[in-house]
Symmetry: D2
Subunit: 347 residues, 4 copies
């Protein structure tokens, strides 16, 4: 079977395994105090032009989201998220378990707007008893979104402004950041992200690492005591080197964006061919995730060879599926898939 169902089907990019092996027998301090973590932190600060930032490495996305939000919120404060946000639909209520209400806003292509955020704040503070509902304090967005779409630079800065006006933190889930930064048409840079966000993370798991996310706290107020919160959530890895080495490898020499660009290229190949073949897409995604509507009979045949994610039924005879590529996807597999689709559709 050829897997197009997610971007974490393989292990790690070979350079990562190589680097892990090379350094394997070095005796290093634990808990992220090793030189590789230190270098990776510096590299990230340089990339983002954010010398005041603090960087921490955490094993996975859900743990990162719950740890960062534990740090950003007081118990009675809430996080504003698109209703399709990962924290709202795919983390078993981890944020609520952490004690916080999620204000889930209707999304447009996976995104929310500054106006929507402003309205939430206005509604809250205009209530005669604001203290009877949770106080909005963080805006959570993903880049790319769950549907592979991107905020423009303009949209991102508009969110920053509304956060400033209403005393909110902006937190970006970058589990797939590399795909976004390298997407055709993207006008958002590392520096833009570091400038706009109080906190964000650089996803490793979905971009060629064995595991790991790099949290960047650009707002100095959030840096103090962050490691207490990490430790308390089980988010400090004893062998922190495993994360530091991986991020160092990924971020040196632009590998991270190269891996993203490759996956995007393969995905867009499939997208363009499917469009030509008359298939419809739910969102206009320039990145590695493509949501398309597939006739069930075609799907059934394809699934003898390929694995996709089923999103939901679409009417009686069609299904929305997600095709997802990665750093490890083969262009030939994509071409074969395209050929098979065309043939089955009789195009």
């Amino acid at each position: 079977m050829i897997r197009f169902n997610c971007d974490y089907s393989e292990g790690a990019h070979p350079l990562i395994l190589e680097k892990l092996a090379q350094t394997n027998l070095e005796q290093l301090p634990g808990y992220g105090a090793d030189p590789y973590c230190v270098q990776a932190e510096q590299l990230i600060k340089d990339l983002c032009h954010a010398p005041e930032a603090a960087v921490h490495f955490i094993s996975g996305g859900t743990q990162t989201n719950l740890t960062v939000l534990a740090a950003l919120l007081r118990p009675y404060q809430s996080v504003i998220s698109p209703d399709t946000g990962h924290i709202n639909v795919h983390e078993t209520g981890a944020i609520e378990m952490t004690g916080h209400h999620i204000v889930a806003l209707p999304h447009q292509d996976g995104k929310i707007t500054a106006d929507q955020v402003a309205q939430v704040c206005k509604n809250h503070w205009q209530d005669e008893n604001p203290e009877f509902s949770p106080q909005p304090k963080v805006v959570y967005i993903s880049f790319p979104t769950e549907f592979g779409t991107l905020y423009s630079k303009e949209e991102l800065f508009a969110l920053r402004r509304v956060c400033d006006e209403h005393n909110l933190f902006l937190f970006m889930d970058g589990a797939r950041l590399g795909y976004g930064l390298s997407a055709p048409g993207n006008d958002v840079s590392w520096t833009d992200i570091a400038t706009c966000c109080d906190a964000f993370y650089i996803g490793g798991t979905k971009l060629g690492a064995l595991l790991g996310e790099a949290v960047v706290l650009t707002n100095p107020k959030l840096q103090k005591d962050f490691r207490y919160i990490m430790k308390q959530r089980g988010a400090i890895l004893a062998k922190g080197r495993v994360l530091g080495i991986q991020f160092l490898t990924l971020l040196q020499d632009g590998l991270y964006k190269k891996l993203g660009a490759h996956a995007n290229k393969v995905a867009l190949l499939i997208r363009d061919a499917c469009k030509q073949a008359g298939l419809k897409f739910l969102y206009d995604s320039p990145t590695n995730q493509q949501f398309l509507i597939m006739p069930n009979d075609v799907l059934k045949k394809l699934e003898q060879t390929y694995v996709f994610s089923h999103i939901r039924p679409y009417g009686k005879n069609e299904t929305v599926i997600r095709i997802c590529t990665s750093w490890a996807s083969h262009e030939e597999d994509a071409k074969q898939l395209i050929a098979d689709i065309k043939q089955l559709l009789g195009k």
Copy 2:
């Protein structure tokens, strides 16, 4: 000013104060072990024909909701609620603070249907990774709802059936139960509630008590260790007698339903007159809460004499207000209000 803004503007029904005074110097055990609590518990079990039930007394509604849901849910389980449910909009995220996700369903007149609940469960269990979203376990409804409307006996039993099918608990917030039970057209009895619900509470605060809600746990599985959870949330009153005596007074000789009936009568007097005068209502409520659309100019003048709750603007020139009566409302005040409205509307 004459207050029609809520049902807790006065102190307690005079009989309650009398009973508190009469028993004041009796030396009694604390924490709900006094004979008044014991008698009140028995009275409630008799009223509901629920000899196996357990009854506990708690100070207020939010504390009751969070305590009961802490008892009913494991950490990864969620509660299904109408989006307008009190737990979802008026308790500062107390349920999320307790660790639980609320599945907020679109309401119809403040209610949710058995079909909606079934759909949530189906969606959850059909997911290929159900453990990636919280597991639905409790259905939370209010009787009357936040808009004063009522579930019919048929609707209530349909919810019970869907709970049985999907292994859910049914929990009824009865903060205003007395208004519902005594409403014209209501076909739901104490026994129906005890039969259908695994847990519910009988509201005192909004029905003539100084404070207090009586939790009824009809499902024996929920009874064990409930007092641990109460104590841990600060929900066991040292002088439990204060709650026991009040519920004993309210529930003896049918006082509770009489107080509800009085408030309903006054509310419906206002409703019928306003309808005649051409005002529109958002919901068809047979109980003490009435949501109507009031021209802003009329409202402004009325508010020199009366206090209402503002719900939200309705277009540019009107406002949705809530008129709320109570056991203590005076029929003459209602008549004066009606006369004033008619005069201001020129009817």
Copy 3:
């Protein structure tokens, strides 16, 4: 039976019931915004010479402790308490449920010292990985302690100094504050408490109220958003008047200290007589709680008439009991108890 087992066996001081009845039919705003709460707040600020303080009223002690500590602590911070502190032994882990570790220090007569606190901080900050244990942030003490003993003014100010040195908050549980303030030999005043503590509460439940504790937040940094935390824990009473009126009554004309003084007087009568009769006491308490060692055969006979709290067995033939008086204790009952003890002891 005559109850000497606790200080909440009766209802409320009669003046309180009177005042509740007098104001009962006044229509007032809810949630603590009524004029009685406002007046009670002002009265407390005047008493304490703390014009910048904020005052809030909460139903009971456990709820107060968990609400205040939720406000004072970030998730990874801990509270230092004597191991015998109420939060550590008598609240079903409410503080842990709130997410916080308690650093339980060995007590001396129910108290902890500034030196002990300093040592905890030193140990924490000298650790090479301080973030691997909770960060100490609050010192919790009771006045009087669980054993009826008192901090001297000097001890209290020493705790304040150590808190300043280590950036800690000082929080006093004053569930029985009135007994302490009116005790013979006490040199701590209202103003001392307000000066030394960042937060404290004035107990009503155990000093003649039906229920209620008045939280005083003297540190302005703690005041913002406190009501959110209250509401989220179910700690804002709808009919806030019930608490405001009671504290107004208790604190006007010095009633609060008078009630404390009466209870102390009765307790010391018993203490002195028992000492004369040769009985031993565990602690040297000048307040309403007395812990004494009673021969089991005498105890058994006394318990045909009186109720005491059993603390623990003391060897094979004796038991530590607590005798506890209150504002409502009768001097005659105490004299009868003394006579009975003497007779049974053959003195």
Copy 4:
């Protein structure tokens, strides 16, 4: 510098890296559903003769402890632990953050006894208000303990019996399990552990894995819905293969115990030589951790070459240090250390 300060200074055992590289490009399902996780689970069940057990893989120890305890405890229940237990002193209050009180018992050489546990339960249930303190429900022990010592088979079965008598779960923290199982004099087997414990984990991080702990739930009641709790705490790794492959490698062909035996051998070499040289040890440990008292002047010189953990000052002129070996320790380094110590001590 040569590190003897912990057992996670190196990366992974080379076979693990090899196996990760070999399988790296296989496309596998995520979240622990890959064949390597499945095989590792089966291997563990075979090793333990526990065909009904369920096995889950988690990144680190703190996360494992908090996830398992979240699954084992209701909100008002507590866990009994030696006061030196990892959960009590080295996890930043993670268990309290999860909502639970830890009953910390005085340890003997890092262990607690069945009698101590029985006493806690007796005290709890004999209280006249048991619901005023957390209900003991889990016994947490470590094997080896934090001091390298071991429970004997007899001690372990005694704990099982007391758990059965008082309806408790027994949970073993096996972060260093391999060192215990392979220690000279140890009489506890895989099967004994699976028989006695309701849940335990097999530590990978401290025994040659890059990261990872394998949780074994032998009690079927604990298995249902465990993955919900994992996911909610961020404890399901997307690339579960990373953990499955490591445990498969470690547990095949007895590698795990071999690695433990090697570390123990090196540690005991040091221990025996130090004893001969007249140094004193705090505990009699047969495993890879040795706690000894070192003159400060000697220590200072040694620390020009070696890294140890400082535990605490011991009088004015000595320090308790921990010497910790691992699968990767070199016998020659140990011999050099011994020679250096002897020379510095003039032996």
